[in-house]
Symmetry: C2
Subunit: 348 residues, 2 copies
DNA sequence: TTGAAAGCGATACCAA
DNA sequence: TTGGTATCGCTTTCAA
């Protein structure tokens, strides 16, 4: 089904007011109206004023589609996110909106649930010209676009890198962050450090796991590396994993969770089963979920500059489109290690 | 600035493949290609198959803008949210996407930060035909649309009602929910019940406050109604409000928070200042934030069927557009009262 | 500085 | 069932 009224007529009941109508009212040619309203310099201040007034009075707004068709420009950027309900993506989008706002470029968001078909459908928005550029938060280039490298200059990846070359990326160094967090555990005397990781195939979680491994090796603890990759990184997965862990004979004394949500779920279960946090098991999360600060105990975590990532990503994309050449470098932004009570740190 | 390359040429480097190209390749008329690809019945299965193949082989995708211009149909719905970073809106969007998916209608999301200008810019997407319909989660009709009642049939409000008549609404009965929650406090023996409300001008929070008042009156406690409207409903506001409350000589023994986030912040502060929850003060939140279950103590709350609201809202909109007549009724969906430890309920 | 006219790419009539 | 063609509303050359 498509949207349409029962009559096979065009959908808008009354043809809305067009540039021709304004031209007639102003007693000029449509092209003059076009120039006046789109800010061309080749028009007298006088005529522009008159036309602008008439347009305003009559509530004229340019037909977006006609404008796009003719000028081959959409003034819209499409953001592809895997799951709009995950708390982290919307904050990136906020940054993107901020960067594009002043340029009068709109943002549209498509959520894919990691469904390839949906990704493809959205990618077409770029090919068909409904969007001028693409920002990928899902870490995957829709297959069709992989075969059309001429679009690379119109694509930027944020947060999760895309493996395809020639596509700019803005994110943080997840490996280093995980390494730093693990070493912090070591520095406060924890040894049996477990890493509750996210899906292994995700570059982000792979990098975090690698950082954990590096740190353990660096601390001479490679003999007791204890790493598990979970199929998800939400609270449900964290609860399940924690139940399994608490069935062991020897418990870890510290857990580095690949996400704050994993940590929330895990700590909840630990608490329910009478484990004291951080005394018996210390926790560090990842992502700085807003509730982490109010959690009990407040969650130590890595703060990712999501808003800034979005802002820079959008700027990079604009630049890349304008110059018509890909900006392919990786921009790694600084993260912040927020020490709170969940790892026992100072108050221990 | 607008997006364009330095040369004043159209933005796409190579004119992409058009319907005319496919027509030539297939040895038919463009109109036949159009019919074949848009699923018109007036075309042989044979021809359709041939054309479809050729189109696929050549990676043809219809130009969205041209299609829209001619057919006056965008196959897109615009969702306006006040703040995409608030956890509740994305879940509604998920439901909307679900409902529209099978109809091959896309969803675009615009976040406004309650900025009227931004609302207006987005509303224009409807007027200019970039979107076929509008779903408002922000509880406010962009002013321009208020003067164009012919668009009412293309607008649906979810979650927050819009005051303008003729616009369908899907939500829950906030007043009743707040009333029920308050009476629950009464039923477990609490009397000095405070309501930490959200912004007064928001119909949602006004309704919740009214429900609280009704319940207090019903319980014969109208003498000690203790209601405050906060300027926001996030954790920061909750913390601030709680600090003020804890400075009083006599503390409330129960607090109904207008949002879970308010409750998170308030409970955090209470905990920090040595108040025991729920023994000294019991809490009930609103909205069923995903972290509420893992919070300490787990938060009693009202679960709002956000996903379902989105789904129904989108369906209603589709119907309204198709029939070309507004569906103006209010649909109030059932909510769920989730009793957890924060109000001391059973485990008390 | 303005006007005239040629498209942008697809769709939807009317004829055949 | 197909072909021819006008047209959607705007932008952008080219002339005046």
């Amino acid at each position: 089904m498509t949207i349409s009224k029962s009559k096979s007529q065009p959908a808008s009941s009354k043809a809305s007011i067009t540039i021709v109508d304004i031209a007639k009212l102003a007693g000029v040619n449509p092209s003059t109206v076009s120039r006046a309203l789109s800010g061309s310099s080749a028009v007298t201040a006088q005529t522009r004023a008159r036309i602008t007034d008439i347009a305003q009075e009559n509530g004229y707004v340019a037909n977006h589609n006609a404008r796009m068709l003719r000028s081959r420009r959409a003034n819209q950027i499409l953001v592809i996110v895997p799951n709009i309900a995950a708390f982290s993506h919307p904050e990136v989008i906020l940054g993107i909106e901020e960067a594009l706002e002043e340029h009068n470029i709109g943002v549209i968001v498509g959520s894919t649930k990691d469904n390839e078909e949906r990704e493809l459908a959205l990618a077409r928005q770029l090919i068909t010209g409904a969007a001028d550029g693409l920002i990928l938060l899902n870490g995957r280039l829709p297959s069709e676009l992989g075969e059309l490298p001429q679009y690379n200059r119109r694509i930027v990846a944020i947060s999760r890198p895309v493996l395809s070359p020639g596509i700019a990326f803005i994110g943080i160094d997840n490996q280093q962050a995980a390494q730093e967090a693990t070493l912090y555990f070591v520095s406060i005397g924890r040894k049996r450090i477990l890493h509750m990781g996210g899906p292994e195939q995700s570059p982000i979680f792979a990098a975090r796991a690698q950082g954990y491994r590096n740190a353990m090796r660096q601390a001479g603890l490679d003999g007791i590396i204890d790493l598990q990759h979970l199929p998800a990184f939400n609270m449900v997965a964290g609860r399940q994993a924690m139940r399994d862990i608490l069935n062991r004979r020897q418990l870890p004394d510290a857990i580095l969770c690949a996400s704050d949500e994993l940590a929330f779920g895990a700590i909840q279960v630990a608490r329910e089963l009478g484990i004291s946090v951080p005394q018996q098991i210390a926790f560090i999360g990842f992502d700085n979920h807003p509730v982490g600060e109010a959690f009990s105990p407040p969650l130590t975590t890595i703060s990712v500059p999501r808003r800034r990532m979005g802002f820079l990503g959008a700027q990079t994309l604009l630049q890349s489109i304008q110059d018509d050449r890909p900006i392919s470098d990786f921009q790694l932004l600084p993260y912040e290690f927020l020490v709170r009570a969940s790892c026992g740190g100072s108050s221990w």
